[in-house]
Structure formats: C-alpha cells, structure tokens
C-alpha cells in the first residue's frame, strides 16, 4: 500500500525503520520487523546509513515485502550513478515495492569505507525528478519504458536545521520535484517543530515527524554534538540523567510518547527511529494513543 493513499484517507500514518545487516544474516532485521509490523503502516529500510557498508536496502525491502510487511525503500545518491539509481528503481517496482524515500546520503567520510568514491551523480532533488519520470514512463533521457513504475515518493527534511531557511527552500525544491511525503530528522522540541510546520504547511505535502527513542543522557549529548539538526533540549537530558539505568526504557518510552502527542495535531504522521530499541516501539504507540 502506498503511503500517499493513507494520507489521502486522512490517516495519521506511522512508520518505523530497520537496518539491513553488516553481512548476510537477515535474522535480526526480520525479527525487528516482526516486532513492528502489526503497529505501523510501513517500515523504512535504511540504505547503508552513515555510509557504513551493509547488505543492500533493495533486497532487504523485497524480503519484507515477501513477508507481507510494507517497505519504504530508502535510496541514496552516495553509492550509485543515475544508471544504477534508475535501474534499482525499476527493480524495486518489479519486486513489488511501492514506497521510496529519496535521499542524497551521508558523505563517505562518516562511514567505514573512507577511501570509497562519493558518487553524488544525482542528489535528492534530481533523484526525485528522475523517479517521477519513471512513474511517468520515461527515463532521464526521455526514453520510453516498457512498463512504468508508480511509486509514492518521499523525501527528508531537517526541521531543526540552523539556519532553517535553506532547508525550507530545499524542501520546496523536493516537493516541486515530486516528493509526495516527508519524513523528518528527529524532533524533540514540539514547539519549535510547530513553528517549522507553520512554514512547511503551505507546500501541501504530508509531513511525518521523526521520533528517536532516547536511551540515555549520554546518547542525547552525543546526538547534540554530532548529528546535524538534532537538538535534544536540556530538560530532557536532565530527565534522562535523573533516571536509574533500569528505569530508562520506561522513561524513554514516556518521553517519545509525549513528543508524539505534542506534534500529533500539527503533522500528518510520525516516523519512529528505534535505533536498536524496536521492542519498545509498541509501548510508545500505546502511550501515545496510536
């Protein structure tokens, strides 16, 4: 089922994500997906996130699809040129995948293969435009396809970027190039997110707020220092710091649910990034009333 259909039905859409393994053993990824499947509308499969070489998101997405789990196939421009990107999109459609998240991708220097060539032949905007072309039955050169795709195309945005104006302009370019939904970088400050949505709403494209489960105060501080556009407010860090280790999962769930409830009225869905705490996602959704 395409996410765009759910938005059209007025549903508050919930997605989460799993990461393919560093290797060929899919057991853990599939178990993670099993924990999530009954509670979410679709599951993103990350594409070698943070530029760490892993099993590919296309085959992993197909594995989920064949088990009846709706995948959101993440596709970045870091590792493939336009021939490979378009080819993978055709392959994805043939494999029954209906949702694609188009990203530029992290720089190679963040990962574990520092000598690799950063490709970036296309970027998130031109990839969206190319994918929209495939949906219309033509490739980037205007050649006709024997059988077109019909993807729901998604993109990402960082509401907490500082300054945010360049992000908003990029968001507008993505929407113009074919993005039919957005998933955001992690949101912790609901008030700041509401202000962002005031400016994003005129685009008329559904936005799903990104939710990360905080595991500890240390993790929050690490993200503040190292992840662009993530700003965990000091109150939340103090709240985590004051929580005994064994109580942290419950506190984490409480905080995540609080954020979900606080953003629920200003956006069209949430995208939960469990980062290893997949088992706690159902509790977050329960506590948030979803």
């Amino acid at each position: 089922m395409k996410l765009t259909k759910l938005f059209e039905q007025g549903k508050f859409v919930v997605t989460s994500e799993v990461a393919p393994p560093k290797g060929t053993d899919l057991t853990e990824m599939l178990e993670d997906a099993e924990r999530l499947r009954s509670r979410v509308d679709a599951i993103n499969i990350t594409d070698q996130q943070s530029s760490v070489m892993r099993l590919g998101s296309l085959v992993a997405s197909h594995q989920l699809k064949s088990r009846g789990v709706e995948p959101v196939f993440q596709l970045t421009c870091r590792d493939r040129n336009r021939i490979a990107l378009q080819s993978d999109l055709l392959s994805a459609w043939a494999a029954g995948i209906e949702n694609v998240l188009c990203l530029t991708g992290d720089h190679v220097c963040l990962g574990d293969s520092l000598g690799a060539k950063p490709v970036f032949d296309l970027d998130s905007v031109s990839l969206l435009a190319a994918a929209r072309g495939l949906n219309g039955g033509v490739d980037m050169e205007g050649n006709d396809l024997a059988g077109r795709t019909d993807f729901a195309l998604g993109a990402v945005v960082t509401p907490g970027a500082d300054p945010v104006e360049p992000q908003l302009l990029k968001m507008e370019r993505k929407a113009g190039a074919g993005a039919a939904f957005f998933q955001t970088q992690a949101v912790f400050d609901a008030e700041a997110f509401a202000q962002f949505m005031e400016r994003a709403r005129p685009l008329g494209v559904p936005v799903m707020a990104g939710i990360i489960l905080l595991k500890s105060a240390g993790m929050a501080r690490f993200m503040n220092e190292n992840i662009a556009g993530v700003d965990v407010p000091s109150e939340l860090i103090e709240e985590m710091a004051a929580t005994a280790k064994e109580d942290r999962p419950a506190k984490s769930v409480e905080i995540a649910a609080r954020v979900v409830r606080a953003v629920r009225d200003v956006c069209q869905g949430v995208h939960i990034m469990p980062l290893g705490w997949e088992a706690h996602v159902p509790a977050v959704l329960d506590a948030a009333g979803l």
């Binding site: 720089h107 970036f120 970027d123 500082d162 300054p163 360049p166 990029k170 662009a228």
Partner: protein, 231 residues
C-alpha cells in the same frame, strides 16, 4: 591554458530577466586566447546582448580575472558605469567568475562554460576552484561553485549534514558551501533563484572533451571560429 566556451546567448539573456543594463567584464588571459573574454569576445557579446534589448552600461577587459585584488582595483575607475548596471556579465573561466563575484557587490552572471583548466587553477591561485564541468552553475549560486565548494558537489541546494553553517566533512575548517551561497543570494536579494531554478542535473558528458582537442591552442581557435557555438 584554460579553455572556455561562450554559453549560448539565449542562456545568458535568460539570466538577465528583469535587468535593464549590464557591465561586461572580460579577461585578457586565457579567456582572450579562447576567444571568449578578450576585446573581440566582449565586442561580440555586447552586440548580441544589445540585439536582445539589453543595455551595456560599460565594459572592461582585465588581465587576469583570477586575481581578486587586481579585479577590485581595475573596477574602481568604472564606478559610474557600474552604478548604472544591474549586474556584471563575466566572460571567462569559472575561477575568474568566482573571483569577480567575491569582490563585487553586484550579482555576477557567467557568460562562459569552462572546458579545461589545462592543469592550472588560474594564473593567480586563490581559494576559488573550478571543476571544468562545461556547464557553469555559477549563475544559480551567487558565483560560488557548488561542485568544488560543496563536499558532495550538490547542485540543487544543501544536504542535511551541516551544523551552524559548517560542513559535516571538516566542520572545524570547512564552511557549508550552500550556507555561503544562501548568504550571498540573500544579501543580493536573489533568494528566489533557489526557488525558481529548474532541477539541475550534471552532464558528465560535458566533462570529457575529445582528447585530440583538449588542452590545445587549436581547440581554443576552433571554438572562437564557431563563435562560442559549443562543441
């Protein structure tokens, strides 16, 4: 030698929408040899622009546009003409265009595509870098090259990887190119460019000129004879 070719006149005229008068700037270095930037090149460009209803408020040929202090000094006597011009149209390599955009408070439009740098980065080497892409993007980016200044070479806006305007690749020393582009376009009141510019797609075919011509004088003459008509 650096080799440049004139962009098609329709493309240049397209850059000038809403403008009445421009100041033409050429380079007496490599661009003169390429037939794009010297006196003759500017004369041709002026004639074509006037034919499209664009007033040429003045022009100057400077050797070399890659040297910023020279450009700044050489433009000073032209202040009255520059005052009447909405922008500068610069007919030279990507380095000269970037250097001019750095020292000018007016918008700068590129009149050329850079084909080959012949192994050098301008006669006077500054921090500007050109990727010899053959499809100069500087028009849309306030004269800051997104191919060389952005770690990912992104041509459609910033990625999500910058923090406080610093690039994720070397945050301590490297500014996000798109942060700089945004700031310059904002200062010039041209932010709409980031909204209205069509999706930009790199054409890598333009980055590989035929071997028998690349880096030769013959190539430059050939292009000059075809009046910047491309390859």
């Amino acid at each position: 030698m650096l080799l440049t070719e004139r962009k098609p006149i329709d493309e240049i005229v397209g850059f000038l929408s809403g403008e009445q008068a421009v100041f033409l700037l050429g380079c007496d270095g490599c661009a003169a040899a390429s037939g794009t930037g010297g006196e003759a090149g500017l004369r041709d460009l002026a004639t074509e622009l006037k034919g499209h209803g664009i007033d040429v408020a003045g022009s100057a040929v400077i050797d070399f546009l890659c040297q910023k202090s020279l450009v700044r000094a050489a433009l000073r006597p032209h202040a009255p003409a520059l005052e009447r011009a909405d922008s500068l149209v610069v007919s030279t390599c990507g380095i000269g265009i970037q250097a001019t955009a750095t020292v000018s408070d007016r918008p700068v439009h590129p009149a050329c595509n850079t084909i080959s740098l012949g192994g050098i980065r301008g006669e006077w080497q500054g921090e500007e870098r050109c990727n010899e892409c053959g499809q100069c993007f500087l028009e849309f980016t306030g004269g800051i090259c997104p191919l060389t200044a952005c770690a990912k070479g992104l041509v459609n806006g910033p990625c999500g990887g910058s923090t406080d305007g610093r690039c994720e690749v070397e945050p301590d020393v490297r500014r996000c190119a798109w942060d700089a582009i945004y700031e310059r376009l904002e200062r010039q009141g041209r932010l709409d460019l980031l909204r209205t510019t069509p999706v930009q797609i790199k054409d890598h075919a333009r980055m590989r000129p035929p071997e028998e011509l690349r880096g030769t004088k013959r190539w430059a003459i050939d292009i000059a004879e075809r009046e910047g008509g491309g390859r």
